[in-house]
Amino acid sequence: MSIDKWIVLIGSTGLIGLIYWFFLGKKEKPSEISTDIKITVSGGYSPDSLTVPVGKPVKLTLTRTDPSDCLEEFVIPDLKIKKTLALNTPVTFTITITKPGRYGFHCGMNMYHGQIIAN
């Protein structure tokens, strides 16, 4: 096998490893407990991990700045909440989580994810 083929093989293996690490090797970033959270929706959610107190109302404000229609809907299935996020328009609503635990949220097509940690 010629040298260029070896380079492509080794490079591809490395690239596959890099893709795995980049997309699937993310570490969870701890966040401070808060009752008023602002989330920017652009290529995902910033922040994508929220920590909230149990039993207290928490105000969430989401602003979508990304035109991708993937992110147009915001869903927290366990809380049965679905909101349509118009572009560049803040959408505010209040949630109250009564049981401690992790509550995932995602976009309408389930490609971008985040979580709410209720302590």
């Binding site: 492509v8 995902g44 809907e73 809380l79 049965k80 994810h113």
Partner: protein
């Protein structure tokens, strides 16, 4: 707006409007920036002022985005066709091809780049990432050919056609997705904006948010009922179809409840507001439907897991495809196959499979007066094999009336009824209420009772004029007249009155069966779903009622607390049980069943124990709800099957070089649209 002076006119009028601090209307962008005090003026009012000037307002950016997509598709398609012609027939100069391709790549597809960049910053990726990678590789390779860095032919036609097709797919998908949520939009639009309220003797039009409980509201023919209320005077027919699915207008007179959002068709009435704002029935329905549409279907669990790994996995497959082809054949087929893998993968179809069907199914159900709590209950409803009907208030109207009075030789009809009513006036049993109502209707005088005693659901006893009377179920007495059996066989509930040990007569009470009961049962049977009746009546009465409506089995003499046991018995036989009740007295049985179906009473539809709530009183809604659930779940399953098969078959096909990237783009563009289209097909199903 026709010109800049239109914008100036709107700005000027708005600035003069009380409550508006500033207004700036831009003719070019067709946008208005308005600062206003919500306490003084509402956005609706501002829209109305603009409409009065002859212009229309549209706050919906979505339409504009959809239009933009269409324009981008047209430009990309025209350029792509031109370059395709230039490649194969016209020998178009590479530089001209590159200029046209650059417009498509960096203008039409610019949003894909923006999203990809934003996603990568979050270490995330979606379909746009795949498209950007696939088309950019083709574009860069073609640019290298154009500048003479690589020998061969450019592939601008490929990158441009892919982008044109993907944008077409997105445009079609956006339009179709809008149609999936039409039902909930229609419900929201039902909410009236104003009410004609009587304040200080004057009729004033108030914004709906200002109406308070107890306000008197005047309603004329052709007007929408603004809030939930009770008719104080007048009579009319109200078309409730838009909220309850009830097709025939309902007659309303003093004391009747009316539902906000329904249409007053004939008479003028005065009503008193009983529920306003988020407490109205319509607001509750909208909330329940929205919650159901946001819920997660258990069937989707696998999709959730796959979605999290999908795009990275496709990227890895594309890299492996490139390496494999490069080693075995060479650069060009390696590049084209890797591009085909990137382009053919469609995570959107997977993501859209469940939510679109759920939104159409639950919306459709809501339009027919059926509120499905969430996706989980929809899945259970799909499996129901047996329906248990509670009798009173569910299968029947819940208003028992005295039908037969059979006295012995010692007393008259009126004596028997008066004695029974005198005893029963102290009881809270619904049958007692029927006897008292019959006596009141005949204007009989009730007698004073001493030593009243309730015999734990079997009857009552008390002393009248120093004689001890017992009134109750025939089982309380050792020797009852033959009339008891005769009346029970007619499905009536019979009570016997005795003075000391001597039987004075029997009274039969019956509750009118709902007119749709027999048809509902027959429809369930035709769906191969078994039926049972559950009642506190004795076996003879229960058997008679079951046979009148065609129900297979019955559970007789079941006290409310034991209904749950009957449900569990059916479940132990392997049946998936739906229990139909009123949601108030039957809450434990509704919860014990695999799925509880509650008939809403009054204007309260948020019934905790129910998986399905029926807003109307039409029992045919039960087979309809089950059928709709089956169709919705079948659509979800079909969507998921095709979305999985599509990716499982076509990604390997692209990897082994069986798919040209342009064909891959066409398949990809239509995969999401076909999923949404399949969900929309639910609307065409005939459910009756």
């Amino acid at each position: 707006m026709h010109c800049a002076s239109c914008a100036a006119t709107i700005s000027k009028v708005l600035r003069r409007t009380p409550g508006v601090a500033s207004a700036d209307v831009n003719y070019a962008t067709e946008k208005a920036q308005i600062k206003f005090d919500p306490a003084q003026i509402t956005l609706d009012k501002i829209s109305q002022i603009i409409s009065n000037l002859g212009y229309s307002t549209n706050s919906n950016d979505k339409d504009r985005q959809t239009n933009d997509l269409f324009i981008k598709f047209i430009v990309s398609a025209v350029f792509a066709v031109f370059v395709l012609w230039g490649t194969f027939i016209g020998h178009l100069n590479f530089y001209i091809q590159m200029i046209l391709a650059s417009v498509v790549q960096f203008w039409a597809a610019w949003d894909f780049y923006r999203t990809t960049w934003a996603s990568l910053r979050h270490r995330a990726a979606n379909m746009d990432t795949l498209i950007v990678l696939g088309t950019t590789v083709a574009y860069i390779y073609s640019a290298a050919v154009t500048f003479g860095k690589v020998s061969g032919m450019p592939y601008f036609d490929t990158s441009m056609t892919i982008i044109a097709l993907i944008i077409l797919g997105k445009w079609l998908e956006a339009r179709a997705k809008g149609k999936t949520s039409e039902a909930i939009k229609k419900l929201i639009q039902l909410q009236p904006k104003t009410a004609r309220v009587i304040r200080d003797g004057q009729e004033v039009d108030l914004a709906i948010s200002e109406v308070q409980i107890g306000d008197q509201i005047r309603l004329r023919p052709g007007e929408k009922v603004p809030v939930d209320g009770k008719v104080i005077s007048g009579e009319t027919s109200i078309d409730e179809s838009m909220v309850t699915g009830e097709s025939i207008p309902v007659y309303k007179h003093t004391g009747d409840l009316v539902i906000g959002g329904t249409l007053n068709t004939s008479g003028a009435i005065l009503l008193s507001a009983t529920k306003v704002g988020s407490a109205t029935m319509l607001a509750q329905i909208i909330r329940l439907v929205e919650q159901a549409q946001a819920s997660r279907a258990p069937i989707q669990k696998l999709v959730d897991v796959i979605s999290s790994y999908f795009v990275p996995a496709v990227l890895m497959i594309a890299v492996a495809t490139f390496a494999g082809w490069y080693v075995m054949v060479g650069f060009l087929p390696a590049m084209l196959s890797a591009i085909a893998v990137l382009i053919i993968a469609c995570p959107c179809a997977l993501g859209l499979a469940t939510p679109t069907a759920l939104v159409v199914g639950t919306g459709l159900a809501a339009q027919k007066g059926i509120l499905i709590k969430d996706a989980e209950n929809l899945e259970i409803a799909y499996k129901v094999s047996h329906v248990v009907f509670d009798k009173t208030g569910t299968l029947t109207e819940g208003k028992p009336v005295v039908t037969d009075i059979v006295p012995s030789n010692q007393v008259t009809n009126n004596d028997l009824l008066a004695l029974a009513a005198s005893l029963d006036v102290n009881s809270e049993h619904p049958l007692a209420a029927a006897i008292v109502a019959a006596a009141t209707k005949t204007a009989l005088k009730l007698l004073p009772v001493t030593g009243f005693k309730n015999l734990a659901g079997r009857g009552v006893e008390g002393t009248i004029s120093q004689i001890k009377y017992t009134l109750g179920t025939p089982s309380l007495f050792s020797n009852v007249p033959a009339d008891v059996a005769r009346l029970e066989k007619q499905g009536k509930t019979v009570v016997v009155l005795a003075a000391v040990e001597k039987i004075l007569g029997v009274i039969a009470i019956a509750d009118t069966l709902r007119p749709t009961a027999a048809e509902a049962v027959s429809q369930l049977h035709s769906q191969k779903i078994g039926t049972s009746l559950i009642t506190g009546d004795n076996p003879t009465t229960a058997a008679a009622i079951a046979s009148q409506v065609g129900i297979d089995r019955y559970f007789a003499q079941v006290i409310p607390a034991d209904k749950e046991k009957s449900i569990r018995k059916l479940q132990s036989e392997g049946k998936i049980v739906a229990m139909v009740g009123d949601g108030v007295n039957d809450a434990p049985a509704l919860s014990a069943a695999n799925i509880g179906i509650a008939m809403a009473t009054g204007t309260d539809v948020a019934i905790e124990a129910a998986g399905i709530t029926l807003v109307n009183k039409d029992l045919r809604s039960i087979p309809l709800a089950l059928k709709l659930s089956r169709f919705t779940l079948r659509t979800i399953k079909t969507n998921l099957f095709w979305a999985f098969i599509y990716n499982v078959v076509l990604i390997p096909a692209a990897a082994i070089g069986l798919l040209n990237p342009i064909l891959a783009a066409a398949a990809m563009a239509f995969s999401s649209v076909s999923v949404v289209g399949n969900s929309l097909l639910l609307k065409r199903v005939r459910f009756t």
